[in-house]
């Protein structure tokens, strides 16, 4: 059954900014022209103006502001979160003034040597310009396909079209021509994010958001022009687009990022699309048999008050028992479902584990106190990581996660260097079968193919030590490490009733602040003088409950002398089970550092822009800043090769087509 809204002309839905607030519309300013004595009219006018002034005075001094309290659709009244106004985006003038005040005795400007070093060796990025969300990832006829939001004209967001690249192994990519451009009225203002679905016959449909010529967000259908072309170079847009327009109650600019579809037990395909109603983030559900006409379900997949707009919603099953990926349509008693959304307000990707009810297309979280989008709810990544999307890799039976890693520098540096943004190294995603309460992510195995020479180390590191780890070049590294705090040190702290503390990576001052049992870890992209460095570390704290909590942090606060980059301290607590050693893995690739704690239970991506700790001057250190504790560290460091991502060329594509 077609969405009834599909029959309404798009223009009826657009918001004309001049008329959007009905009370201001003034359709008939003309008078009827009936004659009246001028004096009487003047008196009336004056009277009205006095009333108006009075009303204005009252209204502006009104104590309880109508903005403060919103009545949600379920009748509860909630106060609007001030956080959304105060802004929790890491970039801010305030941060900058604080940063430029200290450590900055010289006027700083970027030179080409510093900027060109920032480009990564083995992370996906286009040859130039701006990239954002991953789109429609899939595996087909021997190739992994990756599409992405791309600006062909500038190193900032805008003029968005779909870029395209292919790889045999998710690591070595070849750039291809643009897959889709803004050439129809229904995507004239942007070919935005979308997802791919495989049909039973093995063919592919792509659903994506178009910003129409009137800036309404609609969903469109596209498919490969030639399924015999393994490179899927050309895409055809369904002539009947758009297939979905914003439904009643949803604003024309709050309707984007359709998911991969999954099969319902009734044999239909089902998708979900994020949106919001006032400040409640929601996910709408539609059923279809042909991807051309849709039924909107009465129910929402889920909603969470006060979380704002849900972008890039993702919904997929995970096995409760097996460490493998599942096709998006899998359901059953041994399966949990993940709902993930990108929070527009905070630029954080949150997910929650829960149960899916196929009969009415709803989902409930296992733990509502950490429901999707609540600030304390789980994140794929505690650093710079947004608009992420998974896909089922039927080639190797795994679910793979892509995440957009934006820049943390100024736009003038992006313009100067000619590019902006990376994708994270693709990660496998599974449920943590040991805790049952979180996902575990890990860089795809194929990244190991980049490992060159390695060095192995085993050492005991006393409190307050710093060890230079000589591995030669230190800007492209893969580090796997295991740490143990010596038993005597642990026992001492556990036995000391007063040794409790509150700790958070963000608020406890960074890696130079010493505690009883930490911080200890590696300092990457470090200058030998340590004037620039990026520590990645564990911090073990004893809480008031006398239990030890382990935190995993990445501190970029001293990563660079530059005064126009954001230098946050990221991190979170990480579950450590009885008998486990503390493990971390770090991928260093020029201006990106990806850190994985406890096998990927807590992941942190950082962007760093050193000005001195670059090229041969970038070094690696091991450190232990604990006050008393001695730690043992056992680790291996590999040099990482470049992935030699190939620029687009017709000859390369022809050569690939023949393989």
């Amino acid at each position: 059954m077609a969405s009834s809204d599909a029959l309404l002309p798009i223009s009826a839905r657009e918001e004309d900014p001049l008329l959007s607030d009905g009370s201001r519309s003034d359709p008939n300013a003309e008078t009827h022209g009936r004659r009246r004595p001028v004096k009487g009219l003047l008196a009336v006018s004056f009277g009205l103006f006095f009333i108006a002034f009075y009303v204005a005075l009252i209204a502006t001094h009104d104590g309880s502001r109508s903005n403060d309290v919103k009545i949600e659709s379920d009748g509860t009244a909630t106060t609007v979160s001030r956080a959304h106004l105060a802004g929790v985006s890491e970039k801010s003038n305030d941060q900058l003034w604080k940063l430029s005040g200290d450590r900055n005795t010289v006027a700083f400007s970027w030179n080409n040597s510093m900027l060109s070093w920032q480009r990564t060796a083995f992370h996906f990025q286009p040859e130039q310009n701006w990239m954002n969300d991953p789109n429609g990832p899939l595996f087909y006829k021997g190739w992994y396909h990756f599409f992405y939001q791309y600006n062909p004209n500038a190193a900032v967001w805008g003029d968005i079209v779909w870029g395209h690249a292919v790889s045999k192994d998710l690591i070595h990519w070849v750039h291809l021509p643009l897959a889709m451009v803004a050439d129809q009225w229904y995507d004239a203002n942007g070919v935005w994010t979308g997802s791919a679905t495989f049909l039973e016959d093995g063919s592919i449909v792509m659903l994506y958001t178009g910003s129409t010529d009137k800036s309404v967000q609609v969903q469109n259908l596209a498919y490969p022009e030639d399924l015999n072309d393994p490179l899927l170079l050309k895409w055809v847009k369904f002539p009947g687009n758009p297939v979905l327009v914003p439904p009643p109650g949803i604003l024309p600019k709050d309707f984007r990022d359709p998911t991969t579809a999954w099969k319902t037990s009734a044999g239909k395909w089902r998708i979900t699309i994020g949106s919001k109603i006032n400040r409640t983030g929601i996910s709408l559900v539609y059923d279809t048999t042909d991807f051309k006409t849709y039924e909107k379900l009465e129910t929402l997949l889920h909603k969470v008050p006060n979380t704002g707009m849900w972008e890039c919603v993702d919904f997929y099953p995970v096995s409760k028992t097996l460490v493998k990926g599942l096709d998006t349509s899998v359901n059953g008693p041994d399966v949990k479902h993940i709902v993930k959304a990108s929070m527009d307000d905070t630029r954080i990707d949150h997910y929650a584990i829960g149960t899916y009810f196929d009969s009415n297309g709803t989902w409930t979280p296992d733990d509502p106190t950490i429901d999707v989008g609540i600030s304390t709810s789980l994140r794929y990544d505690y650093g710079k990581f947004y608009a992420s999307k998974t896909f089922y890799d039927q080639n190797k039976g795994r679910r793979i996660l892509w995440g957009w890693i934006g820049e943390s520098d100024s736009e003038s540096a992006d313009v100067q260097k000619g590019w902006s943004s990376l994708q994270g190294i693709p990660r496998t995603v599974v449920l943590d079968t040991k805790t049952g309460k979180n996902l575990v992510q890990w860089p795809v195995e194929e990244v190991k193919s980049l490992r060159l020479s390695s060095k192995k180390f085993d050492m005991e590191v006393g409190p307050g030590s710093l060890v230079h780890i000589d591995v030669g070049s230190a800007a492209q590294l893969d580090i796997e490490a295991e740490f143990e705090i010596k038993k005597e040190s642990l026992d001492k702290i556990l036995g000391d009733a007063s040794a409790t503390e509150e700790f958070s990576c963000q608020k406890s001052g960074g890696s130079t602040v010493r505690g009883a049992l930490g911080p200890f870890g590696f300092s990457v992209l470090a200058h030998e003088s340590l004037s620039e460095q990026t520590p990645v570390y564990f911090y073990v704290a004893k809480g008031k409950d006398s239990k030890l909590t382990t935190f995993f942090c990445a501190d970029s606060s001293r990563s660079s002398f530059a005064n126009d980059v954001v230098k946050p301290i990221y991190g979170s607590s990480v579950p450590v089970l009885k008998g486990e050693k503390l493990t971390m893995r770090i991928l260093v690739d020029h201006s990106i550092v990806e850190a994985f704690g406890q096998g990927g239970r807590t992941c942190i991506t950082s962007r760093v822009y050193p000005t001195k700790a670059i090229y041969g001057a970038a070094k690696l250190f091991l450190f232990n800043n604990a006050i008393d504790a001695t730690i043992t560290a056992s680790f291996k460091v590999w040099q990482m090769n470049s992935a030699f991502i190939q620029p687009y060329s017709e000859e390369a594509v022809r050569a690939l087509s023949r393989t």
Binding site: L96, K253, V415
Partner: protein, 162 residues
Amino acid sequence: MKMVVVMMIMMVMAMVSEANMIEQTCKETPDFNLCVSLLDSDPRGSSADTSGLALILVDKIKGLATKTLKEINTLYKKRPELKQALDECSRRYNTILKADVPEAIEAISKGVPKFGEDGVIDAGVEAAVCEGDFKGKSPLTSLTKSMQKVSNVARAIVRMLL
């Protein structure tokens, strides 16, 4: 007569509620007076929704950047010893004009305000860095400080669109 009265009440209410719209919006920004003065003085302010108000502020950023670039150009001759810092400021303010402003306009108009937030925040960042480059002896202080203030107000309004 009744029609005329009703009409006049409507007109007055419209004017009052529009004035309220600007004031209500500006109350949620870090600089109420600056916000009101920027929006009131612009003819488009009287009938704009939040998105429109945000775009007016982006326009103010654009105007201020243009004005600052002109000032930078005259300073090359007046204060040749400041060339290095002026070069850096010129680069930064050109970024505001050529990258931040177009990004913000497109993002706000198309309903993906977070990229608009990036653009307006960056305008403030570029101004702050330019100011810092003079190591306390800036000839552009009032202009760079204005840009940071306008950027903060613009950002608050753009966040209302999220």
